[in-house]
């Protein structure tokens, strides 16, 4: 630990510093290279540490975007389900921007895009009824605020470089930080197993449910300081009156109209739910009382997962998320549906 921070002392420690640093660099490279090979051999893969800066890199590209840009908004369900590559196979020529944030309702981002006069793109907003309630809908607000108050060219360059490295190097995975490895080893006498979620440079995520160890999900979750963490009522405590819901729908519609007014488009997608979660959602937010009211009172295109027959084939191992083996197919079906509804143009037609 260095405590005497002085260079005014002429006694700079003498010695062969060139050799010292060269050997140190070689040694560090050798150890890091060995670690990289070791973790890869144990099945670990690189993953990007998703934070506010990585969100801002994508958000910045949305400004000035036209109809050939598809902005994906929502929470983890769409962040882990939408595969840009699969979408582009069906609809080439588009630019896909993933602005979804795990654990956070998308209303603040929808509002931000609506307020951005230069944005004329297409918004695919995956949202549940609960995700639109005031208690949780603004969970992406810190990201928006950060973008408008603190984001800079310097941060963008830094984040782009970090992403490029994190996409390629396993040793930079937050779960493989020495401190976490030591904690895991001391607690369980074993090395960390590969994490079941992988985040890519474009902020999309893959969930490999075959690797999920249920009791370890929380412990394995990477330390992503920028990710939204919601505090407040639990899901089954969320509630809203009929009038409140109608007012909420009206607020959303105002944002939709603003985007449409500039030539953009908005699609509201109700993502897939299964099992106990679906039963609970149906009980707390029956479709006829919530989603259908939203669909009837918005000029946005609305897609409920129950209305797309091809979506029925997908299982959600945890009731709400798709396994990464299904996501490309899901995205393809979704692209087909968007083409059918005339929101985007499929192969051969080119973007609108």
């Amino acid at each position: 630990m260095h405590s005497s921070t002085s260079s005014s002392d002429p006694r700079v420690p003498p010695g062969p510093w060139g050799r010292t640093h060269a050997v140190a660099a070689l040694l560090a490279l050798a150890v890091l290279g060995g670690l990289e090979a070791f973790w890869r051999a144990r099945g670990h893969v690189p993953s990007v540490n998703d934070d506010r800066d990585s969100w801002c890199v994508v958000r910045e590209r949305a400004s000035g975007a036209g109809r050939d840009t598809l902005c994906v908004l929502g929470a983890s369900r769409i962040q882990c389900a939408f595969v840009s590559r699969a979408f582009l196979e069906k609809c080439p020529g588009y630019q896909v921007l993933n602005l979804a944030v795990a654990g956070a309702g998308p209303f603040a981002t929808l509002n931000d895009l609506a307020e951005d006069e230069s944005f004329r793109g297409t918004v695919l907003c995956a949202v549940t009824e609960a995700g639109l309630l005031p208690e949780v809908a603004d969970a992406q607000e810190p990201f928006v605020r950060y973008y408008h108050s603190e984001w800079s060219l310097n941060k963008r360059l830094n984040r782009v470089m970090r992403t490029a490295l994190q996409e390629r190097l396993v040793v930079l995975h937050p779960n493989l930080a020495l401190e976490r490895v030591a904690q895991e080893f001391l607690a369980r006498r074993r090395l960390p197993t590969p994490y079941f979620v992988v985040t890519h440079g474009d902020r999309s995520r893959d969930i490999d449910f075959s690797r999920r160890v249920v009791e370890k999900v929380e412990e394995q979750r990477p330390a992503e300081g920028g990710a939204a963490r919601r505090r407040g009522p639990t899901f089954d405590q969320l509630t809203i009156s009929d009038e409140g819901w109608r007012a909420r729908v009206a607020e959303i519609e105002r944002r939709v109209r603003r985007i449409q007014g500039r030539g953009g488009a908005v699609v509201l997608l109700r993502p897939i739910s299964r099992g106990e979660r679906k039963a609970l959602e149906d009980k707390l937010f029956p479709r006829w009382k919530y989603w259908d009211v939203l669909a009837a009172n918005t000029s946005a295109v609305t897609i409920h997962h129950e209305d797309v027959p091809s979506f029925a084939e997908f299982a959600c191992p945890d009731d709400v998320h798709l396994d990464f083996r299904d996501t490309a197919r899901f995205t393809g079906y979704l692209a087909d549906e968007l083409c059918r509804r005339g929101v985007v143009q499929g192969k051969g037609a080119g973007p609108m």
Binding site: S4, D9, R19, A24, D53, N158
Partner: protein, 474 residues
């Protein structure tokens, strides 16, 4: 631009290459000046204007002071500098604080008004470069030094990027003479400078951010209600975090400057081995404490004067020292608490007879430990977000609160914090009368390589969330 960012590494590599090209000394200084503006603008470009204002005002005031003999005119010139520098600092740093307190005071008097909330962004490093330029003008005013001859040198003195945003606060007398002769780092300076940069990054990225910040954040979370053990662990974690964060920044600053051939002054000297609070302030943030001593405490009378005057001088200095750290009553209380510590120490030195007993090593170690624990009590005010949160934390630390005993930190985290705290205390104690340079000079080159390689590996494999240096906010 943060030292712990990839953009800084790229920036510094370019600066280092430019600085070592066969160009004239004037051109290389101009390169450094432009690089310093880019470094500052990377955070928020418009605020570079503030740097220019501060630079120009003090440059011209100092030049006028050198040719003005009439006392009232000299005072007027000094007032211009004080008004410009402290005005900017006051507006940006204390504007919102002042407004809030005026509203609260008016409410106490039964007057209710609600002005528009000022949405003021604090320019990074403004407290540091304001004090730096002020010291230049004050030195010229008091006749301690002549004004600089070269505007380029002076602008570089104000803006030099290694220490621009978080110190050390450099005196013109230390820096300007270094600009007169062409400078390139020797091989040994470059080697040692890079080593200091690595060491600083290790302190910041690994120890402060990677290991200690998560614990202090968890314990000092507004919704946490830590018990006795949790409160002390969180406070020890913050004590280590703020030291490694700030000393890490200073190490980087000194190392980077050395790579360019410049020497910066001491900022830390193993402060957690201090015996008493006078000793602590001779070892902690030395460039600020000496600034306050030279430009505030001594001009007010210092130790001279009858009765309670020295204690008043001390109290005012520490009050303003606390306020310098932040526009919040918690920082003010932190400063006042240190003022009280210093006053009590001074009284004890008058009252308690000196003898061989106090020079025994176990006694000295005990006094150093007591000093550290009292410093930690002070850190509670520094870290807590409000006076209420600080008093709740103190209640937990002294057994009167946190009945729920939350948050459960886990034995692993407690062990890590205690291990690091004990490590820092031991290291500081062992090196308190020595220096890092002396220690490194005794090490064979291969051991240095081994240590440097370990630092690199730790920095790469323990880089979590990017956190700004704590002192950037001051």
């Amino acid at each position: 631009m943060l030292f712990n960012s990839l953009t800084f590494l790229a920036f510094f590599a370019v600066v280092l290459i430019l600085h070592n090209l066969p160009l004239s000394w004037r051109t290389r200084k101009a390169n450094l000046l432009v690089a310093s503006y880019i470094f500052y603008a990377a955070w928020n470009p418009p605020f570079v204007v503030l740097l220019w204002v501060s630079t120009l005002v003090d440059w011209f005031v100092a030049r006028r002071l050198a040719v003005t003999r009439r006392v009232p005119a000299r005072r007027g010139l000094l007032l211009i500098s004080l008004a410009a520098n402290l005005g900017l600092l006051g507006f940006f740093k204390y504007g919102a604080f002042l407004t809030t307190n005026v509203i609260a005071f008016a409410r106490l008097l039964g007057v209710h008004f609600q002005p528009l909330a000022p949405d003021i962004i604090l320019p990074v490093g403004i407290s540091f470069y304001t004090f730096q330029t002020l010291s230049y003008t004050l030195d010229v005013y008091s006749g301690k030094r002549e004004p600089g001859k070269s505007f380029l040198d002076y602008a570089l003195y104000v803006t030099f990027f290694p220490q621009l945003v978080a110190g050390p606060i450099v005196r013109a007398g230390d820096f300007l003479p270094q600009c007169e002769e062409p400078k390139r780092a020797s091989a040994e300076q470059l080697g040692w400078g890079l080593s200091l940069l690595l060491l600083g990054l290790f302190e910041k990225v690994v120890v402060a951010d990677g290991l200690l910040a998560p614990v202090s954040e968890q314990v000092y979370d507004p919704q946490a209600c830590p018990g006795f053990c949790g409160a002390w662990t969180g406070t020890f974690a913050f004590a280590g975090q703020i030291f490694c964060d700030f000393a890490g920044y200073s190490s980087c600053a000194v190392g980077i400057a050395l790579c360019l051939g410049f020497a910066l002054p001491d900022n830390f000297r193993f402060p957690y081995a201090a015996i008493g609070f006078s000793d602590f302030w001779r070892r902690w943030h030395i460039s600020l404490s000496t600034w306050l001593r030279d430009y505030l405490y001594i001009p007010m009378g210092g130790n001279r004067g009858e009765g309670l005057r020295p204690l008043r001088n001390l109290s005012v200095t520490m009050f303003l020292g606390g306020l310098w750290h932040g526009a919040s009553w918690t920082f003010v209380l932190w400063g006042v608490l240190h003022g009280v510590y210093l006053a009590i120490e001074r009284v004890l030195l008058w009252v308690v007879p000196r003898g061989a007993f106090w020079r025994r090593n176990p006694v000295r170690a005990g006094l150093a430990l007591a000093t550290f624990l009292m410093v930690c009590v002070g850190w509670v005010f520094f870290r807590a977000r409000s006076l209420g949160a600080a008093s709740a934390m103190l209640a937990s630390m002294f057994g009167g609160g946190g009945a729920q005993g939350q948050p459960a930190l886990g034995m692993g985290k407690v062990a890590v914090v205690l291990g690091i705290t004990i490590g820092i205390l031991l290291l500081h104690w062992l090196l308190r009368d020595s220096s890092l340079e002396a220690l490194v000079a005794r090490c064979p080159w291969w051991l240095r390589s081994l240590v440097l390689a370990s630092l690199m590996i730790a920095i790469v494999t323990l880089s979590g969330e990017d956190r700004a240096f704590i002192y950037f906010q001051f």
